[in-house]
Each structure stands twice: as structure tokens, then as C-alpha cells.
């Protein structure tokens, strides 16, 4: 039943007042005292648990409505309940990155006079996928519905699904080829798309006519609306039970409690001070079809982060010194940066208590204007912003982890997330129909190592703590490719006392189509876009793509000859080259080529996580198990970790502890003999710096950072004792 507002909402004034109160008191909405919590802590906790249960059950219900394997199989969805001002009170599991981006979307509508026009009424559905209003990237489509009670706006219910197809210049959702906003696909900019609890027909028609695979988007919209209605009705029933005044007060106290809990947890788990780290991302597109000559085709980005933990427990992250935005799809908006921060915090620090927007309020992001983190141009593309977000928040995880190690909470230290490159596709399906899809098995990369054990193999991505690669059979129903292999990539975790989690590689046979476009994104070229910690190495993350066109695979199958099921472990000659005849392709950087057809073979590898600690301390017994199970090779065990393995009677590897000890002593001696004092290396390196004797992309990177950042300029100049500006020809 619809509930008409008695008078104008004036929520805009309320939002301004709420922000003023926060500025004035330092507490959310001026809540300096948790009155209801103090009155009855049990009731307080129980109510929050109820709200969380509403969210979790609404999301599970909605996943059954969706047609998209991304939402059904992999769980690329999150829902949350908000205050009237748009601050998250409670959320479900799933892609929690979006809890705060939806908050920005609601506030954007309030600030932009939506009360007057198009009006905010009971039963309305508002949708958005514009990152400058509040989301991460074009496929992250969010729907929110107001919650009214007794004629008053008392909150919002919101839901986000990551769409597998967004109708951009290349198929899929991450639209790797987008170089400006105008090629990213279908935009819905804080639009009223439904009324009276129903999606508008004209909106659905627009979706059906502008997407390659509208069934995903449209049914996801219905799933989101259903989950919003479900949460709304639950909240209304709860208000009937506890009273409206109690609800309005308790929802704010939940957030203030979340804020205080975050500050307290920082003081409990970390050490105050300044933490620094960096990572890089390389992009190589020169000569590739489709790229417009708008900027440099090949570039290198540095992503430095300085994190301060203040005496009162606030976490401040500063991206000064990073690169400008560019004509590529990997820029990010402040909303996306917020989202990355939020999803990382919920995994590392908010593992108990009230998880909501309060945690976000206890942090601060410094995003220099004009950089990829905060573009001063709203026409830029952000369709693949995860490509830079994931490496950046991997750095954040390592910085936080150093603080956990310093404080003694070694079980929480974690080398962090990595990019997990996505493959997207479109063209003609195996059913003879047009199709488009992002393949979401990438939601199961290897995780970074922990400070007390190896990372998770094929089971973690930063953006969704509930990682899942999905079932092969389900993916095969949705694309004209059949799996001929899905296997662990040996040595794909970064080496260390504890190794990073391994990644996997899929090998497909293109089947029943004459036109399959394959595009990949989030694959850093020429550089590692991740790191290790405390002596651990980065995971290998600059993989190339390998494919065979017009292969003889059907002949091989007919003759019952062996096929290739993976690329193997010889970097100079892959299993594809060994087993298959045809046109062999090895491609660096994003995979953008002419369409594939039946009989072609394509492989794609995901990424492993970084390592922790000195390789020479790795456990020989665990290593033997790793070799037996294909996570490490025999060669790596001996060459990298110094672990000598013997074979038992059945040919299985067993660690030879005595020989390992001797071998490691030799390796340590060799290490010391090879190493030189840093001062000596710096003196020599300074000559190279003075001469700016670097590859053009490296020089360009330095010049750009120097132009944008006085601090980078000063740090560079001081470290090398040079004038950074004149060295790189910056005016």
C-alpha cells in the first residue's frame, strides 16, 4: 500500500543540517551520546541484527530472480538500508564496495532538488550507473526506493548488481576499449525508472534496445526492485513495532556507533604513524585495432599511497604523486575510491560489530584533483576503474598489515588483493542469437599471503569477499565456448616464507559460432601491479594472452590424440604450440582482435597474490605437498625456496631436510656475495637518473607526477639529490 507524504519533505535542509551537526560536534548527525544503546543495549544490538537479516534475506531472494550468472552464481550484488539523508545503516554481504557509492547517489538526488522534480514518492524507483553521481563503473547499476512511514520519509532501501553487459563499444560490462564516457554504454543518470513499485515500461524498452544481452540487466532490475520492496516492508513492519521516534533515533545511533567502533578498532589493532607503499600499472595498446589516437597508446602509472594513522585512530589515505587521468577506461571517481576504501575496511577491521557508513566516516581520502583518482573532467571513462583500484587498495591492505604486524595481530596481516583480469565477449551465441557477457570467473583470484600462512588459492578478490568462480556448466550455457581446461597455474602465487595464493587458467574451444568477439581488461602489461610484504615477492601479473586460430583440434579429437588443456610451464613454448596446429597468437596487453570462430582455442589466466617473508624460511614439508598438487614446480622448490626434494617409492615428492639445510646455506652465501651496499647502488643509479636514461613511458610517468605533485617533486629531488623538474624537462 502506498503512503502519500503529508507535506514537502524538505530532506535537503535536513541533509545540510545533518552535515552541519557533524562538523560542529564531530559526531554523526550531532549524536554525542548513544542514549538508546545505553538504555537497552540488548534491544539496540538485536535491532541491528534484524536489519542485517532483512538485507541478507532480501539479497538471497533477489539472486533467485536474476537471470545473470554474475548475480546468481557469483553473487555480484549487495543491498543496504539507509537513513533519509542517505547514510548506510545496515548492509548485506556481497559486493560491499557499493554501500557507500549508493549513499553518494542518494545524497546527489537530494542535493539536486529531486524533492521538487521529479519528486520523491512512495513506490518510486531511482536508478543510477553514473560514476560521477555515485557508482564505480558503468556496469554497476544501482536502484534505490524511498521508505515512507506515517507520511514521512524514514529511510531508503538500495540494491546494486554488477551487470554482465552494458552496451558499450566493446561487449561486456568493463568496456575495455572505452576511451571517453560516450563509448561506455547505456547510462542511467539518477533517473526515476519506476513508479508505484513497478519499473516503467519505456525504461525497460530503452534497456532492451541498447544492450547486447538485455535479459541480464532487465531481470536484475526486477530483482533489485523486489529486494528493495522486501526491505522496505520489513523496515515498515519494524517501525510499527518499535515506533517511529525510536526508529529515527536508533538508525542514527547505529551509524555513530559504527564510527566510534572504527576509531576504537584502529586504536586497538594498529600503531599510529605514517605508512608508505606503491604499485604500478602498465598499459600497452600501440597498433591495436579500435584505439583512437587520443593519448599515448602505451603508458605506465605509478600509484603511491601515504597512509597516516592519527593519534585518535583516524585513517587518512593520500594519493598525492600519482598520475593524471587519461583517455582510457581505467579512471576512477571519488565515489569509486570511497567504495574501494569501504570494501577493504569491512574486510580488515569491521569483522564484528555494526558495519555501516560509520566506518567510512572515521576515514579520510585525499584524492588530488586531475589525477585518475579524481578527474577534473566528467567526460572521462571509468568503465574499467578496477584495473587501478585493485592494485591501489592492495597497497592499502599491505600498509594496514604492517600496522597489524607492529601491534602483534599477525593473524590479520594480509598481503592483499590483486587485479583479476576479466574476459568479456559478444557476437553470435551458440544458439544463433546475438549475445554479450562478461565472464565472471575472475571473481576467484589467488589472495596475497597472510603473515602466518599461505594465501588462498583461486578464492579471493578484493571487491567481493564472497569469492566464487562459478560452475563451468553454467558459464557454458551462456557463451559459445566449451572448457577444455581449468587448472591451477603453478608458481603463480608470489614467492615467500608464505606464498601468495595461486591463480587458475582456463582454456576454451570456441564452438558453434562464426563470430565471437573476445576482449580482456585489467591485465597490467610489463610491470607487476601487486607486491609482496616483509621479504615476499610480488605475484607474476604481467601475463600475455595465448590463442590458436583455425586449430586442428577437431581432427585431434577424432583421432583420439592428446589435446592441450593448459599452456604448461615452459614460458618459451606453450602446450598450445606443442599440441595444436594452427595460427598461434601471443598478445601483450588487452586482447582486442578480429572475431574468433568455431575451432579456435583461447586461454586466459587470472592472477595470484603476493608473498610474505623470506623464501629461504619456507616450510619444506608444505612445499613438497605444493609440488605434489601442482601449486609449485619442482624447479621452483629448489631454485627459489632452496628446498631439496626426493621421490618416495611411489614417485611422490618428499622433503630432504638435511640437503635443504645445506642448499639453503649455499643460497644465503650466494645472496650475500651478490648483494652490494644500497649506498653504492644509489651512487651508480644517480648517474642514470641525472641523465634521465629511462624508457619514454618511464620518463613520461616521472614528468607527469612532477607536474601534478609538489611533494613528489620534492621527494624525488631530495632522494637523488637532483633537480627533478629540470631532469625531466618540466617547466
Amino acid at each position: 500500500m502506498l503512503d502519500k507524504p503529508a507535506s514537502a519533505l524538505r530532506i535537503r535542509e535536513r541533509l545540510i543540517e545533518s552535515e552541519r551537526l557533524m562538523d560542529e560536534t564531530g559526531c554523526y548527525d550531532g549524536i554525542t551520546e548513544l542514549k538508546l544503546r545505553n538504555q537497552d543495549p540488548l534491544k539496540f544490538e538485536t535491532l541491528h541484527t534484524k536489519l542485517r537479516a532483512y538485507c541478507v534475506s532480501a539479497r538471497e531472494m533477489a539472486r533467485r530472480i536474476s537471470a545473470s550468472p554474475g548475480v546468481r552464481e557469483v553473487g555480484e550484488m549487495v543491498v543496504a538500508i539507509y537513513t533519509p539523508e542517505g547514510d548506510a545503516i545496515a548492509l548485506s554481504n556481497g559486493i560491499m564496495v557499493h554501500v557507500h557509492t549508493m549513499s553518494r547517489f542518494i545524497k546527489w538526488m537530494i542535493r539536486n532538488g529531486y524533492e521538487e522534480n521529479p519528486q520523491i514518492r512512495d513506490g518510486d524507483v531511482f536508478a543510477n550507473n553514473d560514476a560521477f553521481i555515485g557508482t564505480v563503473q558503468v556496469p554497476d547499476v544501482m536502484d534505490v526506493m524511498p521508505i515512507f512511514h506515517s507520511g514521512r520519509l524514514v529511510g531508503w532501501a538500495g540494491a546494486v548488481c554488477h551487470e554482465l553487459e552494458a552496451g558499450g563499444i566493446t561487449p561486456g560490462g568493463d568496456v575495455a576499449l572505452a576511451q571517453e564516457r560516450f563509448t561506455e554504454g547505456l547510462f542511467v543518470c539518477a533517473e526515476k525508472v519506476g513508479e508505484n513499485d513497478e519499473l516503467r515500461r519505456d525504461y525497460v524498452i530503452r534497456c532492451e534496445r541498447n544492450l547486447r544481452m538485455p535479459i541480464y540487466w532487465v531481470l536484475d532490475e526486477k530483482a533489485k526492485v523486489a529486494s528493495c520492496i522486501d526491505m522496505r516492508e520489513s523496515v515498515k513492519a519494524l517501525i510499527d513495532e518499535i515506533g517511529l521516534d525510536y526508529w529515527m533515533q536508533v538508525s542514527k545511533e547505529f551509524i555513530e556507533e559504527g564510527r566510534r567502533a572504527q576509531l576504537a578498532r584502529t586504536r586497538q589493532l594498529t600503531v599510529p604513524g605514517i605508512y608508505r607503499g606503491h604499485t604500478f600499472y602498465g598499459h600497452v595498446t600501440a597498433g591495436k585495432p579500435g584505439y583512437q589516437p587520443l593519448g599515448d597508446p602505451d603508458w605506465l602509472y605509478n600509484i603511491p599511497i601515504e597512509m597516516e594513522i592519527t593519534a585518535d585512530g583516524k585513517i587518512v589515505m593520500d594519493f598525492e604523486g600519482t598520475q593524471p587521468w587519461g583517455y582510457h577506461s581505467m579512471n576512477c571517481t571519488p565515489a569509486g575510491m570511497d567504495g574501494g576504501m569501504f570494501v577493504t575496511l569491512t574486510q580488515h577491521m569491521n569483522f564484528e560489530g555494526l558495519v555501516n557508513d560509520g566506518a567510512w566516516m572515521a576515514t579520510e581520502l585525499k584524492l588530488p584533483t586531475g589525477t585518475w583518482t579524481n578527474p577534473d573532467n566528467e567526460m572521462v571513462a571509468t568503465a574499467t576503474s578496477w584495473a587501478l583500484l585493485l592494485p591501489a587498495y592492495g597497497v592499502f591492505q599491505r600498509l594496514l598489515s604492517r600496522s597489524f604486524i607492529a601491534r602483534g595481530f599477525v593473524e590479520e596481516a594480509f598481503v592483499g588483493q590483486v587485479n583479476s583480469p576479466m574476459i568479456e565477449m559478444g557476437g553470435q551465441s551458440q544458439y544463433g542469437t546475438p549475445f554479450g557477457m562478461a565472464h565472471f570467473e575472475c571473481a576467484a583470484a589467488g589472495s596475497g599471503a597472510l603473515a602466518i600462512k599461505d594465501g588462498l588459492d583461486t578464492a579471493y578478490v578484493g571487491w567481493n569477499p564472497e569469492s566464487d568462480m562459478g560452475n563451468i556448466e553454467i558459464w557454458e550455457q551462456n557463451m559459445p565456448m566449451l572448457y577444455i581446461g581449468r587448472s591451477i597455474v603453478p608458481n603463480s602465487g608470489g614467492a615467500g616464507k608464505y606464498r601468495g595464493g595461486c591463480s587458475f587458467l582456463s582454456t576454451w574451444l570456441v564452438s558453434k559460432t562464426d563470430h565471437l568477439r573476445l576482449v580482456t581488461s585489467e591485465h597490467s602489461s610489463r610491470v607487476f601491479d601487486n607486491g609482496g610484504l616483509c621479504g615476499g615477492y610480488p605475484a607474476p601479473t604481467c601475463q600475455k594472452h595465448r590463442a590458436v586460430r583455425d586449430s586442428n583440434i577437431f581432427d585431434l579429437a577424432e583421432n583420439r590424440a592428446p589435446l592441450a588443456h593448459h599452456t604448461g610451464t615452459n614460458p618459451y613454448r606453450s602446450e598450445l604450440e606443442v599440441r595444436l596446429e594452427g595460427e598461434h597468437v601471443t598478445l601483450e596487453g588487452p586482447y582486442i582482435t578480429a572475431p574468433h570462430k568455431t575451432g579456435d582455442v583461447f586461454t586466459h589466466s587470472y592472477n595470484g597474490g603476493g608473498g610474505y617473508g623470506d623464501v629461504l624460511e619456507r616450510d619444506p614439508v608444505k612445499t613438497a605437498w605444493d609440488v605434489e598438487n601442482g601449486f609449485l614446480t619442482w624447479e621452483a622448490a629448489e631454485g627459489i625456496f632452496g628446498i631439496v626434494l626426493d621421490e618416495d617409492e611411489e614417485g611422490f615428492p618428499v622433503a630432504n631436510l638435511e640437503a635443504t639445510k645445506r642448499h639453503r646455506a649455499g643460497m644465503r652465501a650466494k645472496r650475500l656475495a651478490r648483494a652490494k651496499p644500497v649506498s653504492e647502488w644509489m651512487a651508480k643509479e644517480r648517474e642514470r637518473v641525472t641523465a634521465a636514461d629511462f624508457a619514454p613511458e618511464v620518463k613520461k610517468m616521472y614528468a607527469s607526477a612532477i607536474r601534478l605533485s609538489p611533494r613528489f617533486t620534492k621527494d624525488f629531488s631530495t632522494f637523488w639529490d637532483v633537480d627533478a623538474k629540470s631532469t625531466f624537462g618540466v617547466e
Partner: protein, 168 residues
């Protein structure tokens, strides 16, 4: 309040606490007396008696060494004043060609040494690999961590450090 014995903390730090028990530690409320137990576990591990003030790596500690506060390797080697970047006093191996990178990455595609190198920061006495940087050539060495040591002891632990005549 949650609390664990020193033996449990020692096993946890060594990575030898059985996984089901480790899981319980991860899922439980955190133990507020962790820090000093942790430091005493580490103090037992190192072969020297300078009091550890703050661990900053797997085998790196800020400790009180006479009147100075220094960063020390577990083997006892000192990298000097804790406020300076210890890496500048370390030994280094730089992997900036295919052969050296291939030693660590035997079967994967390699970074382009023109764009990226691996820097290993090593204790010149015992050869422990303390930290690895993956950086573009020419990138300044990172000063990973500058703790607010005195503020931490005074405001967060409620146990102010004795004034040190040198080294802050």
C-alpha cells in the same frame, strides 16, 4: 576480556598454531593484552637483550640500544636510528634483466626491465631478505613506516617510554 597464554601467541606468531585454533583466534574478540605478550615472545626469540620497542617487519625491530633507538635485524645487526629509512643501510640485489627475473619467475611472462625492476633489501650480516620493492627504474626507495613511537606508548598503551637522550 579475551586473553591467550604466551605459548599460544608464540605458536600463532610462528605459524604453528593448528588451523582450527587459529580460526577461533581470528573470529573471536581481540585480546587487549596482545602487544606486550607479543613483544616478549619476540624478545625470547632474538639472541640479544636490547629491549624491543616495536616490531616493524618479520625480522626487523625497533629497539632500545643503550641510549639510542635503532632498527635492528633479528641477527643483531643495527641499521641505525629508527627514524631513518633502514633500507638505505641495507645490502641490495636488483633484478633488472631477464636472467635475474627468471630465477624468481621460472614459468610466467616477465616484466619489462625497462619499465620495472625488483629490489631486494637484505641484511648485510645474516643475509635475511627483509623487504622486496617492485618499482620503475629510478623510483626513490620507499620509507615504509615512520611510527609515532612515543605517542603510541603514551596515548594508546598508557605506558610512556623512558626519555631517551639520543634517538628521540
Amino acid at each position: 576480556m579475551t586473553s591467550y597464554s604466551k605459548e599460544v601467541i608464540a605458536d600463532l606468531v610462528a605459524g604453528t598454531l593448528p588451523w582450527p585454533q587459529t580460526r577461533r583466534v581470528m573470529s573471536a574478540y581481540k585480546d587487549d593484552d596482545r602487544f606486550f605478550k607479543y613483544v616478549s615472545v619476540l624478545q625470547d626469540r632474538v639472541g640479544w637483550s636490547d629491549p624491543i620497542l616495536l616490531p616493524v617487519g618479520d625480522h626487523l625491530f625497533i629497539c632500545q640500544s643503550g641510549e639510542e633507538r635503532v632498527t635492528k635485524c633479528e641477527c643483531g645487526h643495527s641499521f641505525g636510528d629508527y627514524r631513518r629509512n633502514w633500507k638505505l643501510k641495507a645490502a641490495i640485489i636488483v633484478r633488472d634483466n631477464e636472467e635475474l627475473l627468471r630465477e624468481i619467475y621460472p614459468n610466467s611472462d616477465l616484466p619489462d626491465p625497462e619499465w620495472m625492476e625488483i629490489r631486494e633489501f637484505i641484511c648485510p650480516k645474516c643475509g635475511t631478505l627483509h623487504e622486496v620493492e617492485a618499482a620503475a627504474p629510478g623510483y626513490p626507495i620507499v620509507h615504509d613506516f615512520e611510527p609515532d613511537l612515543e605517542g603510541f606508548y603514551r596515548d594508546w598503551l598508557g605506558k610512556p617510554l623512558e626519555p631517551s637522550s639520543k634517538g628521540g
